[in-house]
Amino acid sequence: MIYEGKKKIWSEYQKEIPDDHYFYVRSCIRQTFFPASEWAFLDICRNKLNKDMFETEHHTTCGGIAYHSDVIPQETSMTIIARQFALMHKYGYQNYVCSCITSFGLYCETLESWREFPELQEKIADNLMKTCGLELAKPKFLVHTCDLIYKYRNLIAAQAKFKLVNKNTGKPLRVVEHIGCHYSKMFPSKGVGGAEYPYVLTGMIEAWGGEIIDYPERRHCCGFGFRQYFIQSNRGYSLSNTYKKFESMEPYKPDMIITNCPGCSYFMDRWQYVIAETKGKTYGEDKHGVPVFTYEEVAGLVMGYDPWDLGLQIHQIGPEQVLDKIGIPYDPAKKYLGKNGKDMGKPDFVECIK
């Protein structure tokens, strides 16, 4: 592997990311899958890095799931998005940051469609005025939260209490990075690093001390994609995609996986259980799986947040082995307690995977 070759490609796909003053919109499914990730992002940006992240209670979902499942037509989702942009303008912001990869893909697609077909933009402006009484606006910069964490990675590393290094062996942790399809494959120029060798997560891991693994199926889709798995009998297709990725990364013995898409994190985490139950195969040491994290969770961990405040107890594959390797202190007893120590009950435990 000639690293300089990759660096040359990365230098060709630079993306302009403003430093501050963002209008933040939440993601519908990330709230459910990874409840503390968005909280962690806002806490890090506002309180630790003193950035201006504004959010309003009037914003909604982008409609991505419905659009990608053919429940609403494109025009509707474009009008929803136009409303989001109009709110951003109303509160005086020009920089738009969204939390979900599919949203990001949909926003890019909408802006590109409006640029290429001005009559479509007119129509949506008209719709927006009739339904909400708002004027159409377009953000000057559209980024994803992983772009921001990438931009702040050195600031985070400066404040970091832990590094992604195995404290017993002194070697960097072996990290597999997985990029959501809608981030770079749809619009390579809008992703940091382009489509073939994206740099956004690699840059973060390198800044925080880890080591990135390049394995053959690195660019393969995890199989999420909405339509494929909504119907139960079709889920085998999604499962097989993730299985192929795990089979390919197995010889490299990764310590953890980091992704920037909520669907990918979810699938790569949960499908390990299905693979363990049906095939009896696990990919970590001693019947453990490989823990999957979002980039905010990793940022939170290196900055010293309590793992249970970051929502890591919701993960199927327990993060304890990685926490032990890094040396992050945690209280196993508090894992399933809620706020103020309230007992929320425990999930059912399975035999096949830890």
């Binding site: 592997m1 489509a195 060798y197 690195r218």
Partner: protein
């Protein structure tokens, strides 16, 4: 009075035109931007389809230019049209007042790093056709050590809208088959695969070369593009391609992958073209006076083309064009300059 003819480019086209113009008796000046004559021909080992050594052809070309003034390591700083002649200021300080100019600036190979998915410059075992030809000459390349499975990818940088070149580069298919046979001779135990879209074996003896590749060297031709190249832990390459004839995706592990980089107009030639505001076609090569009868003439009086600057060409084609350009220049000079009448 003897007319000055300036030839820009010291490759096969420039050299052959120079020797003919010398025979006609003109005062011929040839400039070459690198420090040796021969152009790309000096980098090749054996030529298709019969395996003639490139060195022999180059030696023949260098025979009859003893009275041609060759300036190596020289570029054109400026070129202006004055009445009927061209005022050319060279980078070595010399000014030439040329009555006719022949552009023989040739081609550059497509930069294979631009096809990022093939990993040239990123993975150790991915090389280009030019790298392989150099290996045949020098037998020295750290990336090639006893490969057991070898693949050739056709159409890298050609027939591809994503890299901005829709045209076919003509010579790479024949080159690929030739190089596949040669690598099989070099490593007889290896398995060789060629991934092609269409196999352009148009010339005389090319089909025989194809048959020889299949029958004598067991080379497997797979019709379908390569989509992605990745590296395994042991540094072997995992190739994903499509086998269009069976409509299924195909995967194979290879030790060495050779990319057939396509033919693009030379950057040096484009510089000269911009100075003279020469028009180019959509494929990036210069516009000739017409496409059938006068392909050595440009739309400007006294300016002629020969060789790959007007499109991908084989070496025999280049030599024919050079001779034809010399004829055209001679006719032009006799008709337009009174001292010749």
């Amino acid at each position: 009075m003897n007319n000055n003819v300036l030839i820009i480019g010291g490759g096969p086209a420039g050299l052959e035109a120079a020797s003919r113009l010398q025979w006609f008796g003109y005062n011929t000046i040839l400039i070459e931007k690198t420090d040796r004559l021969g152009g790309h021909l000096a980098e090749w080992d054996h030529l298709f389809p019969t395996g003639k050594p490139a060195k022999e052809v180059l030696n023949d070309l260098l025979q009859n230019i003893t009275r041609v003034k060759c300036f190596l390591g020289t570029n054109v700083n400026s070129i202006n049209i004055l009445d009927k002649s061209y005022n050319v200021i060279l980078s070595n300080g010399i000014t030439v007042l040329a009555d006719a100019v022949l552009i023989a600036s040739g081609f550059d190979l497509f930069k294979a790093e631009k096809k990022e998915e093939y990993g040239y410059g990123i993975y150790d075992s991915v090389i280009t056709n030019a790298d392989l030809e150099k290996y045949y000459k020098t037998k020295n390349d750290s990336r090639i050590h006893n490969p057991k499975k070898i693949g050739f990818v056709h159409c890298v940088g050609s027939r591809d809208e994503k890299v901005g070149n829709l045209a076919c580069s003509k010579v790479c298919c024949a080159t690929a088959v030739k190089q596949a046979c040669e690598i099989k001779q070099e490593f007889p135990e290896a398995e060789v695969y060629c991934f092609y879209m269409d196999l352009r074996m148009f010339g005389r003896y090319y089909e025989d070369l194809y048959l020889k590749a299949q029958k004598q060297y067991d080379i497997r031709f797979i019709r379908g593009r390569v989509s992605e190249v990745s590296e395994n832990q042991d540094k072997t390459l995992q190739i994903k391609a499509e086998d269009t004839l069976s409509s299924r995706p195909i995967k194979i592990t290879l030790d060495l992958l050779i990319l057939m980089a396509g033919i693009r107009p030379a950057e040096a030639g484009e510089r000269i073209g911009n100075m003279l505001q020469l028009s180019k076609e959509d494929d990036g090569f210069f516009t000739t006076k017409d496409t059938v009868f006068s392909m050595q003439k440009s739309n400007i009086q006294g300016l002629f083309f020969a060789g790959a600057c007007t499109g991908p060409k084989t070496i025999p084609d280049t030599l024919h064009e050079a001779r034809s350009a010399a004829l055209e220049i001679n006719e032009y000079l006799v008709k337009n300059f009174t001292c010749n009448k």
